[in-house]
Symmetry: C2
Subunit: 194 residues, 2 copies
């Protein structure tokens, strides 16, 4: 399993937003929608061995975590608007304990960033410019890749990563959008067949 | 200069489409919009030394070519909908001879695929699964990368590439979406500072 975790620092935690203004009215949920595309889509296929957690920290009910599971996903299309509609459906579900299934392969919970990490118990990779080059890094099976949305991780979030012995890894000389980072990681792991 | 050319085999050649249905009503123009995002966006910046040609072959007035020039671009945002609006504006312009400027950095013309290639006169790279590995390939400055949208290039298009001595290059073991291919190429060229 290949896993991505992305923190949406301002991303809305209710389904009360317009699909016509995903960029302006959602706390940059659009960034996370592009991450979903990068995580799962191959040409004519979906990466079934991959999952992503979107940790949403915006108003009105932070935190909420949306968990997408490649092996179960249905109804996912590559465009932002239809993916936005699936995520909006998930955010309309009532969340109390545990993960609630919204549509096939899409779950929503009240998990924090640390809750997600705690449950995974695997090698954690923090994607950031100052790290070791990904091409020179050894990975375990089931590595988990953590990245921020359009904002870097906060100091507190970095402290949590440190507690879980995260290794910092860089993807190249330029600071890239989160979705582009996921594409690069997928390509590198594909080449190693991890 | 880094240049991408992507052929939209069914992509609409008029601005007569709804921004609320970019995936369904545009001959998969949404694929090309994601290619624009991958071509130009860095975190907090735009790649000014990069350009892309979208060769649109769908109804009602094929061919039309949209040319985006990084050094001149304004008003480009990373989301699909607002990029779709810019391209729709370009497709509403009357096109006769030469490139017509629609908005800063966005031009529209009646150029064919071969017209675009003919004018470039540089090393042409055809991105396809059966090629040599990009990581083992030497590139000239100003290389041009050609790829299809959600369909492979036709035999006739491949013949044109052959005429211009295109070299076939592969990005990895999986067949990826066009926008993901562009991200991988950008990362590889960034690493080489080409």
């Amino acid at each position: 399993m290949r896993t991505f975790i992305i923190i949406g620092h301002r991303a809305k935690t209710s389904g009360d937003f317009a699909l016509n203004d995903l960029c302006g009215s959602t706390g940059r949920l659009d960034v996370l929608l592009r991450c979903i595309n990068a995580t799962f889509f191959l040409s004519g296929n979906i990466r079934r061995d991959t999952e992503i957690y979107l940790v949403l920290l915006g108003e009105p009910e932070p935190p909420k975590t949306i968990h997408l599971v490649g092996s179960e996903l249905k109804y996912l299309n590559p465009d932002e608007r239809s993916t936005g509609a699936l995520i909006r459906n998930a955010l309309m579900k009532e969340t109390k304990n545990g993960e609630i299934r919204s549509t096939p392969g899409i779950y929503v919970s009240r998990q924090t960033f640390e809750d997600v990490l705690k449950d995974l118990k695997v090698q954690i990779i923090y994607l950031r410019e100052e790290g070791d080059d990904i091409r020179q890094t050894d990975f375990q099976d089931d590595a988990v890749f953590v990245l921020g949305d359009e904002k870097d991780l906060t100091e507190d979030e970095e402290k949590i990563l440190k507690k879980y012995n995260a290794k910092t890894v860089s993807l190249g000389p330029e600071k890239m959008h989160a979705s582009h980072c996921i594409t690069i990681v997928n390509n590198e792991m594909d080449r190693r067949k991890i």
